[in-house]
Point group: C2
Chain length 179, copies 2
DNA sequence: TGAAAAAACGACCGGTCGTGCTTTTTTTGT
DNA sequence: ACAAAAAAAGCACGACCGGTCGTTTTTTCA
């Protein structure tokens, strides 16, 4: 009963990498199966539908994001060190050479932005909001500690934080500007 | 000899709107033909390939962007008024209710970011760079006129300008936050 | 070790994709 | 008005899509 879950993890891990480059729709069962060296039907049996595979894949991506970006940052002392760690870890996440295609959430957000509501879209939205909230929380703590101006708008700070990340992501991935 | 070009324009205009929502790959010939009330082959005869259609469509999008955002802004007096107009016109472009799906270039950029080079990708990159340059130029003029600090880094300003735009676009389209 | 259960497989389904080729309809210039 | 030219339609193709199903292989556990 363990072998199944093990392959399932392998599938999700590969799907995660593949989807970062080709998008959520661009990720095809045949292509994924080929990459894994297994049959399409054998792969598909692990999931009830492609949508469920996408959802599970995004969940593993979230877990990885928490493990690599959020958790280590929030282990830093509150205030400026934590905000700086957040920035630096997030930047690393977007440029990790092991993850071609950059941040899946950036790709997914652009892909789903004006689409109808769907479980996948709802999940991406909720994750994005949770992330903005986490950044805002770190900023508020930095105000309390005295590292930031007392009148700082934490939500606005999180918004601009995201903006810099998106612009950096685009410059790095699209324009291939290493700066 | 005029009817052909006229239909061609209609096709490109509709393709432009459709691609903003569904992306460059998501835009299908059958769907586009259906939207136009014409046959897939009749439509296809206007272009040698789908790639050429995508390119032509992006060119019309660029023309529209210049006409609606850049040209009117650069008619404003140099300095702060011009920069403000740039910001405001650009914001309007991203929220134009006539263009569901927001800015095609944002969608295309996310879709193509880590893909191999292609004529379409090259075009999007060149347009993005030209846009950043235009913003930087406006910023430099604002420095000359004395509206901005003398030591302003114009390229950095353009980068952050883009960041705010991207974050705004995402918040508006994905999170549906009207703020 | 052998039977039950889980996992992987291969063939196949209806449908859509982009793209040719041929024919019909519409527009154009005389 | 009529022939030449342009535009649109019709049809078919091979490839790929997500998904189903019955069979075979592998794993698990008694």
């Amino acid at each position: 009963m363990a072998k199944g879950l093990q392959t399932r993890d392998r599938i999700l891990d590969t799907a995660f990498r593949l989807a970062a480059r080709d998008g959520l729709e661009g990720l095809s069962l045949a292509g994924l199966a080929g990459e894994l060296g297994m049959s399409k039907s054998g792969l598909f049996a692990h999931f009830g539908s492609k949508e469920e595979l996408q959802l599970e894949m995004l969940r593993t991506a979230s877990d990885l994001f928490v493990a690599k970006v959020l958790a280590p940052s929030f282990r830093q002392p509150r205030g400026l060190p934590r905000v700086k760690a957040l920035f630096e870890n997030w930047r690393r996440w977007a440029t990790d050479p092991g993850l071609p295609g950059g941040c899946i959430f950036v790709a997914a957000a652009a892909e789903l932005d004006d689409r109808d509501r769907s479980p996948v879209r709802d999940y991406v939205v909720s994750q994005q909001q949770a992330l903005l909230q986490a950044v805002a929380r770190a900023a508020r703590l930095a105000v309390e500690v005295g590292h930031f101006r007392r009148d700082l708008d934490a939500e606005q700070f999180a918004f601009e934080f995201l903006g810099i990340y998106l612009a950096f992501h685009q410059s790095h991935r699209l324009l291939r500007d290493p700066r």
